[in-house]
Symmetry: C2
Subunit: 352 residues, 2 copies
Amino acid sequence: MKAARYYGQRDIRIENIPEPDLRPGTVAIDVAWCGICGTDLHEYAEGPIFVPPAGHPHPISGESAPITLGHEFSGTIVDLGDGVTDLEIGQSVVVEPYIVADDVDTGPGQRYQLSKNVNFIGLGGCGGGLSEKIVVKRRWVHPVGDMPLDQAALIEPLSVSRHAVVRSGARPGQTAIVGGAGPIGLLTLSVLKAYGLKVFISELSAARKAKATAAGADGVFDPREGSVAEMVRDQTQGRGADVAFECSSVPAVLDMLVDAVRPGGVLVNVSIWGHKPAVDMPRLVLKEIDLRGTLAYANDHPDTIALVRQGKVNLKQFITSRIALDKLVQDGIEELIHNNEHQVKIIVNPRA
Amino acid sequence: MKAARYYGQRDIRIENIPEPDLRPGTVAIDVAWCGICGTDLHEYAEGPIFVPPAGHPHPISGESAPITLGHEFSGTIVDLGDGVTDLEIGQSVVVEPYIVADDVDTGPGQRYQLSKNVNFIGLGGCGGGLSEKIVVKRRWVHPVGDMPLDQAALIEPLSVSRHAVVRSGARPGQTAIVGGAGPIGLLTLSVLKAYGLKVFISELSAARKAKATAAGADGVFDPREGSVAEMVRDQTQGRGADVAFECSSVPAVLDMLVDAVRPGGVLVNVSIWGHKPAVDMPRLVLKEIDLRGTLAYANDHPDTIALVRQGKVNLKQFITSRIALDKLVQDGIEELIHNNEHQVKIIVNPRA
């Protein structure tokens, strides 16, 4: 079968590899669509980061580069391993792409995303969504009902946003400020709107501002036009936002959010930082702000899928391009690196 | 009466000023002892910070420099204003030294320390504990029973630590790491021990290390002897501390605490920063750490007083010097600035 294999920095190859074997307790899936994630771009341009380098196998998967990429994917069940009795061949599903030790509890309330040596299918081994087929353990498979499979490929990043929103403790009727309207900023906006908040966005790019407005932002503020924190206070009777989300990895945005959130508010950092940014600790102390890290998801997939199936989140608007696997680097990764203002999600069909 | 008056940077004068008037709803207190706080040192060496400069009266107190200093104090009730019926002349009390607007709710669960224009008695006006007598509103007066009045002067900073510990969500049986064994680090250690935690301290100074050990630390780690985070993991089956407290204002300590706290743990910043320190955001994200600011106290005084009265916190050990008001600058403030390793709390008798 065809697969996109990561060999090292700026070295991704489309190759033919053997199909994976069905084992007891696993599910075989024909991949329909796989999104390209910011993490994939980082691996390509600056990695390996999550990918275990050749000669340094991951302690759980036992694999190292080359590995098959792709962790935001949907597909159709084509076979069920022994003991898997609660799924059916033909079902549309998504995969929660974790690599964790077998004895890690993934039950309700468990924070398995923080377990030792955690990694991701499609980065740390175990196959990936940028291939025609994958076999994964039952516990990572989530049926999506009649959700179109192209949209279902966006459930994984939407779960990241859903997890971040839950981390914030946001409640209906509250006000949020989201810093940055890239893919994760837009998806976080969507979840916040679905949960009944008023949502403001800070963004510079005209193209992204338009997308935020279309996605339901109650206000889109441009830092070049004045203090965004002041604009937020103007809209909240001087109080500030109840919750804030850093989705830009820009120090000035982080600073603005510490300013824009109300005393006693919560600021969730959703973005990935390549360095240690300065944090306005004097203000964080005087306002008793909670600055919370958020990592991926844990038991978020079912509720995330429900948000989309109930029509509360429209994922279709965020699919800006569809490409075949052969064009992954040129029309996918390079396009996102050089033209990211105009793209949200590029999804890849590994069987095209 | 005698009072220590702050005129400006390095300009504190012991003067004679009129006694304050008793008004309806207020309580007149003869001050017994008043501690010197790190905040007082900052006002002296780098201020005015909290003190409203001359010509810029505080919006609630209406006062500006010169103001009477001192916000960590105990005393005896000598008179009660009209309408104060639930206290008695002769009672030993401490004052929760807030200046907030009259309409701010200070009931249970209210975070009045975050209210608009909040300031402190003894910094923002309304008299201070570094004078013979003070008159304060009933709601800020807390009886201390038979607690010795010298120890009672430490209830205010102990309430800061109690509030920080509550902010952390620490539970009995958990493990804490405290960065820095200055006055607030030592008091935070004491509260954590009173609440049944195992507590490790990171500290360089030999004198402070000895004080931490005497105060009940379960381990005192010196960063010069290796990675303190590793030492904490060695003591916690590799897991890390459940809660961490930054009490040093040292960037390397903040970094160490982000490393030493377990995944999903809470790091409370108790210290005051004069700049915006770099924060290890990559690690904060990967471990889903909560970094929480904490400011002073709110409805913490009664439980703080109970900890001492029940014998769970020994405040006596932290009183390292007693001086008369006339010696405030020379034997109090300058001593703490230049010889702080060997002092914890210097308390001042304004009537001596």
